[in-house]
Amino acid sequence: MGELDGRVACITGGTRGIGRATAEAFLREGAKVAINGRSAEKGEQALAEIAATGVDPANVLFIPGDVKTREGCESIVNGTAEHFGRLDILFANAGGASNHAPVVDLTDEAMQDSMVWNFWHTFWSMQTALKHMIPQESGRIITMSSVEGKVGKPAISIYVAAKHAINGLTKSAAQEVGTLGITVNSVCQGAIETDIMATEGPPAAEAMGLTYAQLLDVFAQESAIKQLNDVSDVAEVCVLLASDAGAGITGSMISIDGGSSPY
């Protein structure tokens, strides 16, 4: 008996990192899960690796698609519902930011890209998912924020602004659908060494005047545990929020940051 038996989940991103760990946790708890990414090759690889853990391949699907477009988000969310027959859980997980700089030097393109990748993708996915969830009067939406959705650091304003915006969207949506059996929450994790972090971290560090190792240390040192978080830390909170037990939690920004955020 899993905590998500019979549920269908859609995870944007999800071939690696936090989304992948969450997909595996949802599958462990009995859900059927669609994961997403731009690269069909990475998708096939993820499916093969997941199958190798003993998961029934019928319970997991890869949907290629670019979350930086409305069409991409709609096809990922609607594709999940079409394939598995319903949609219970959306984890709008994809995101990141490139071309960091202090505000004074920031390009419009960098801000635009971060807002599309993080915020617009979350909006498009959420809106599409709500159209499935509102008529069935049940659902769980989990958005990917960050400790940077609550606080700010110099030179990464494109990320900080987008994650704050996601938290605002989450709070409003939660109020809209609270009586319909649908919860909307965000997860606010501390730094985790995911693939995205390995790719985007070094240039972000450079914009902040730090080496990559120093950047990771800044995040570790601002926590109480003096270390980075794990992908499993976030995945397990997502299981809780997605489960029946999470019915009373909505509009919340759950900190999974080793004690970094002050609120």
Binding site: G178, K226, G248, S255
Partner: protein, 260 residues
């Protein structure tokens, strides 16, 4: 395989309502639990209803008294050999009033019950957990730990204070394998709320108990009170290995009431 196999917990105020739901959730996952309350009769009834045999025990004592709180922790360690999870859950108000009418006695009671009890329990528990470099402290705070309502100034003040205590303690023991977190429930119709709610409603300028329930419900997104099981599920999560890297967290279980 339970999520708390081999773990030992104590819970202040655990014979009914939220604490009782925590106790049942912990035992169902393989934990051993000592619950606490003032009334030995209710304690015996609780143990009988739980039917957990040797995996549950009761320690009688008033959670607003230092010797009772420390006694619960010492008893748990003596009874089961260790303490892994300390739930400081008891709390409430008795004769609340607006600040201008608040009595010294009520103020002191709320400070002792809601704040000092948590400090006494946390201190004693950490003295045991720090040498073992492992432990979980879980404090039942409240939505009123972030907000404030008229007529319950002591409750709001003590729950705010408890949140500060949790944040500071989390920073102190973060590298020692010990997490310290608060759960912030919205209104739940517990025994305490049913007993003291009617008087509290009057102090808050409301018509009666139903208006109190309605006020809290309407400020949430769910438009209903929360449930004890919803808090217990979060307590179980925070107590489990899955939450090893969550600390200093104010975990809301309030149906979308708090803005932050």
């Amino acid at each position: 395989m339970g999520k708390l196999d081999g773990k030992v917990a104590c819970i202040t105020g655990g014979t009914r309502s939220i604490g009782r739901a925590m106790a049942e959730a912990f035992v169902a996952e393989g934990g051993k639990v000592v619950v606490n309350g003032r009334d030995a009769e209710k304690g015996a009834q609780c143990l009988a209803e739980m039917g957990a045999g040797d995996n549950a025990d009761f320690f009688a004592g008033d959670a607003s008294k230092q010797e009772a709180v420390e006694g619960l922790i010492d008893f748990t360690i003596e009874r089961y050999g260790q303490l892994d999870i300390c739930c400081l859950n008891s709390g409430g108000v008795q004769n609340t009033a607006p600040v201008a009418q608040m009595s010294d006695d009520e103020w002191q009671l709320e400070i002792d019950w809601n704040l000092n009890h948590v400090f006494w329990g946390m201190r004693r528990a950490l003295q045991h957990m720090i040498p073992r470099e492992s432990g979980r402290v879980i404090v039942t705070s409240s939505v009123e730990g972030k907000l404030g309502k008229p007529g319950i100034p002591g409750y709001a003040a003590t729950k705010h204070a408890v949140n500060g205590l949790v944040k500071a303690a989390a920073q102190e023991v973060g590298t020692l394998g010990i997490t310290v977190n608060a759960i912030l429930p919205g209104l739940i119709e517990t025994d305490i709320v049913r007993a003291t709610g009617p008087d509290s409603a009057v102090a808050m300028g409301l018509g009666g108990y139903d208006d109190l329930i309605d006020m809290f419900s309407q400020e949430s997104a769910l438009k209903r009170p929360n449930k004890v099981e919803e808090v217990a599920a979060v307590a179980l999560f925070l107590a489990s290995a899955a939450a090893k890297n969550m600390t200093g967290c104010m975990f809301p279980v309030d149906g979308g009431t708090m803005p932050y």
